[in-house]
């Protein structure tokens, strides 16, 4: 009996491991914290940026997928696309809108902007993860992606704060942040309105995650590779 129990446990462990591997797909692999085994264990700025870019790309990838899945599942025939409202709550943050602006902005300012966007998304992502479960017959992939995006966003925020701590020379400016008041719209009784609110939120998420991804790459190429990626 003991042997069968042990076998079952082993089998369960293997199944869990394999399923985790398959589910995380392009997940960020964790790198050793101190690869060189140095006593004063500190990641270089390059490594921090590398990780941040990877995380941001992953978040954007997940956001694209969840948006596409949501659109496919719920937006067909509802004419969501036609209603180009799309005012995201982060619109009040003045972020560079083209390459010129991105090149001209000071890297510290850009870093703070990135932090601001990430912080502003903290709250909406939490509520997204919880409210999306109330959608009738929400696919499992959407559910876990929402949770995953929320987690990874937190990690990216931590990483960015580390980077800012390293790069920032002066005092930390007043924190950039936009509050989000879209929770009631995610809880509307009318299903169409509620789904449209989700659609908008996911659309904004995809856009902002793309922004973050791009800004981080620009910063990385600028600061680490001297504009020669």
């Amino acid at each position: 009996a003991a042997s069968t129990g042990g076998t079952l446990t082993g089998l369960l462990l293997v199944t869990l491991l394999v399923s985790h591997m398959l589910l995380t797909k392009e997940g960020v692999t964790s790198m050793p914290i101190c690869p060189n085994g140095s006593v004063n264990c500190q990641l270089t700025l390059e490594e921090l940026f590398d990780r941040a870019v990877k995380l941001a790309t992953y978040i954007h990838f997940l956001s694209s997928e969840i948006f596409n899945e949501f659109e496919e599942r719920y937006a067909q025939g509802r004419g969501f696309i036609a209603k180009a409202v799309n005012s995201c709550h982060t619109a009040s943050l003045t972020t560079p809108e083209d390459k010129e602006q991105a090149q001209q902005i000071h890297h510290e300012d850009l870093l703070n902007l990135i932090l601001g966007v990430l912080r502003s998304w903290n709250d909406p992502l939490v509520h997204l993860a919880s409210e999306v479960q109330r959608i009738k017959e929400a696919p499992e992939t959407i559910l876990w992606k929402a949770v995953e995006i929320e987690e990874q966003n937190k990690r990216l925020l931590e990483g960015m704060e580390k980077i800012v701590g390293r790069v920032q020379s002066g005092e930390v400016e007043n924190e950039i942040y936009t509050p989000w008041d879209g929770l009631p719209s995610l809880q509307l009784a009318d299903e169409d309105s509620r789904l449209f609110a989700f659609y908008n939120l996911l659309h904004c998420l995809r856009r902002d995650s793309h922004k973050i991804d791009n800004y981080l790459k620009v910063l990385k190429c600028r600061l680490i590779h001297d504009n020669n990626c």
Binding site: T57, F61, A82, A84, N86, D98, K99, H210, V218, C229
Partner: protein, 611 residues
């Protein structure tokens, strides 16, 4: 007449089709697509459609509006991107801002589209494709190349504004289907195992990472090995071996052969091709039963010997089954061990651990006919013991219980540690399981269990082993006949299932271990009324300490109820986790009755002896 009718109908249909087709050609102007090649500018393209009134050409306008603006503005540049297009340069482009464009003429809106620039990125194709030879195979028939290219010049990859992914496709010149490589981020790609005799075409396209749509293909790169002079002309006509056919027919033939063999009635052929796989088997034990069977059954199996004895020789004919080899030098060692174990000196008289009784039924479990001579422990232990363990006949019985050396090594230390009885420490090494031995007699092979830990010789293992049910705090073991009967029953059942070709009664300790452990765990309550002696009645006492707590508990309750077992309690120390150390206690026997000829006590005698 009918034919003409048919033709007329056909003509009508065709006319109808052409008319309707021409109707389809009258299309509204549409915006076909909007595209940004580098996320810095974008263009929109449209189709003019069929003007209803061709005399007055319609003037189409593209109006656009950013989401945060109110007014529709006209396209700033109708020319740069070609006809029916609108080009927005960098100053008009805001990447993450939603735009709406609409195609209108005068007051009529034909089409409208809304998007943001980051969603419509379709990069230009890569440029400057070239290839280099990596190496060729020894025969020169195949070669590897590496293809390099540059990112599209419009995309600003160096500043990290856009990250591109590339997909390479290649094919032989006269093929129609392109083969693809996985999208990659780097601008180099190796191609392996190309035929040097053939020419290849390569093309590459790119897309923004995390996007799904690819841009246009690059120009085709031609790869020709003959340019480098490494073409293998004479091997162009290699005949491709029909591997596929060979494999298919081979598999079919093999399948047919196998099936015919399986179905053939010739057992010899079957045996030759598919020899039966020997399954590890312990005589007298059904491994399946051990795995799945209930504890009772398992216990009974282990006490199988006993059962069979009772089955076959219901009365105390156990004597016939016991055989000890007194002359064996090892036995003398054992005697010394026994001395240590036994408190009484008269135990020396019990050196003879087994009666050399020729007609003792050395029946293995469930096998009435037991060859007298051949007590080969190896038979019993073929399943679990290593052959090295079996030295000679003399020592065969040591391994009768198939003590696994490794296991013993592990378990014995624990036993030693927990032995409260110091003087038994030496003997602890001699693990012994308390058996309900089957009445197999040991002739030359002495029934001793060799314990690896101490490397001492054998226990005074005898034919008969009683199941230990309790252990007194003093270390006395109380054997439970009730268990045995229970065991016996189960053993009977278990044994009868088996084809017992065993010629001895020992089970491998590994199996017994479970039995004992389980049994001992179970049989806590003092069923030890009679001494737990074996019906067969012969025990060589050896000290065994038990590490089982419940043993201790039970033994506390048990001891007073009965006198412990007979003079000899042969015990094989159970391997981990529990070990049994029996403290030999002499039975208060009337000597006359006690057949101490070889230290065996008959069942009857024991019955009388025990309270």
């Amino acid at each position: 007449m009918d034919l003409r009718h048919l033709l007329f109908i056909l003509a009508l249909i065709c006319a109808n089709d052409s008319l309707s087709a021409s109707d389809d050609l009258l299309q509204r102007p549409q915006i076909s697509k909007c595209r940004s090649p580098e996320m810095e500018t974008f263009s929109c393209f449209w189709t003019a459609g069929n003007a209803y009134n061709l005399t007055v050409p319609r003037i189409l306008q593209l109006l656009y509006k950013k989401s945060n603006e109110e007014d529709w503005k006209e396209c700033p540049d109708y020319i740069t991107s070609g006809q029916n297009s609108c080009y927005f340069n960098a100053s008009y482009t805001s990447v993450w801002t939603p735009y709406c464009v609409q195609l209108a003429s005068k007051n009529e809106i034909h089409d409208k589209k809304c998007f943001s620039v980051d969603e419509i990125v379709l990069p230009d194709p890569p440029v400057h494709l070239n290839w280099t030879l990596l190496n060729t195979s020894q025969t020169g028939i195949h070669g590897d190349i590496q293809v390099r290219w540059d990112p599209p010049p419009t995309a600003d990859v160096r500043k990290g504004w856009i990250t591109l992914e590339y997909e390479l496709q290649y094919k032989e010149v006269n093929e129609t289907k392109w083969k693809e490589l996985k999208p990659r981020l780097s601008t180099v790609a190796p191609l392996y195992s190309l035929k040097t005799a053939r020419d290849y075409e390569i093309r590459i396209r790119s897309r923004q990472r995390t996007s799904e749509k690819f841009g246009e293909f690059s120009e085709i790169l031609y790869v020709s090995f003959s340019q480098l002079g490494i073409g293998c002309d004479h091997c162009t006509e290699e005949v491709e071996f029909p591997w596929f056919l060979v494999v298919v027919f081979g598999v079919c033939g093999l399948a047919v052969t196998v099936i015919s063999i399986m179905l053939s009635k010739q057992p010899r052929l079957k045996m030759l091709i598919f020899p039966p796989v020997p399954v590890p088997k312990i005589k007298g034990i059904d491994p399946d039963l051990l795995k799945k069977g209930k504890l009772d059954e398992v216990n009974s199996i282990l006490a199988c010997h006993d059962i069979y004895k009772t089955q076959l020789y219901s009365d105390d004919l156990w004597v016939e089954f016991i055989e000890l080899d007194i002359e064996d030098p090892d036995e003398k060692n054992r005697a010394s061990d026994t001395d240590r174990l036994l408190s009484e000196d008269d135990l020396k008289s019990h050196n003879c651990l087994g009666a050399k009784d020729d007609d003792s039924g050395r029946a293995s479990c469930c096998e009435p006919d037991i060859p007298e001579t051949d007590f080969s422990a190896s038979d019993t232990c073929d399943a679990t013991s290593d052959s090295d363990q079996f030295k000679k006949a003399a020592e065969k019985e040591e391994d009768l219980l198939c003590l696994d050396r490794q296991d013993n090594d592990e378990s014995l230390p624990s036993l030693a540690n927990t032995d409260p009885q110091g003087r038994h420490r030496n003997t602890q090494s001699e693990n012994s399981l308390l058996w309900a031995p089957f009445g197999d007699s040991l002739e030359s092979p002495r029934p001793s269990v060799h314990t690896q830990m101490s490397n001492q010789n054998s226990l005074t293992s005898t034919d008969f082993y009683a199941q230990v049910s309790d252990i007194t705090p003093a270390g006395r073991v109380v054997l439970s006949p009730g268990q045995k009967s229970k065991l016996g029953r189960a053993q009977r059942e278990g044994c009868t299932e088996q084809n017992f070709a065993v010629d001895n009664t020992y089970f491998c300790e590994a199996d017994v271990k479970k039995c004992i452990a389980v049994t001992s765990h179970e049989e806590n309550e003092p069923r030890v009324q009679e001494q737990g002696y074996n019906e067969d009645g012969y025990f060589t006492t050896e000290s065994l300490t038990t590490t089982v707590a419940n043993f201790g508990a039970s033994t506390a309750a048990a001891p007073s109820s009965e006198t412990p077992v007979a003079d000899y309690t042969s015990i094989h120390i159970v391997q981990s986790p529990q070990g049994l150390v029996l403290n030999a206690t002499a039975l208060p026997l009337p000597d006359k009755e006690f057949n101490v000829s070889c230290g065996y006590v008959s069942t009857d005698q024991l019955n009388k002896i025990m309270p």
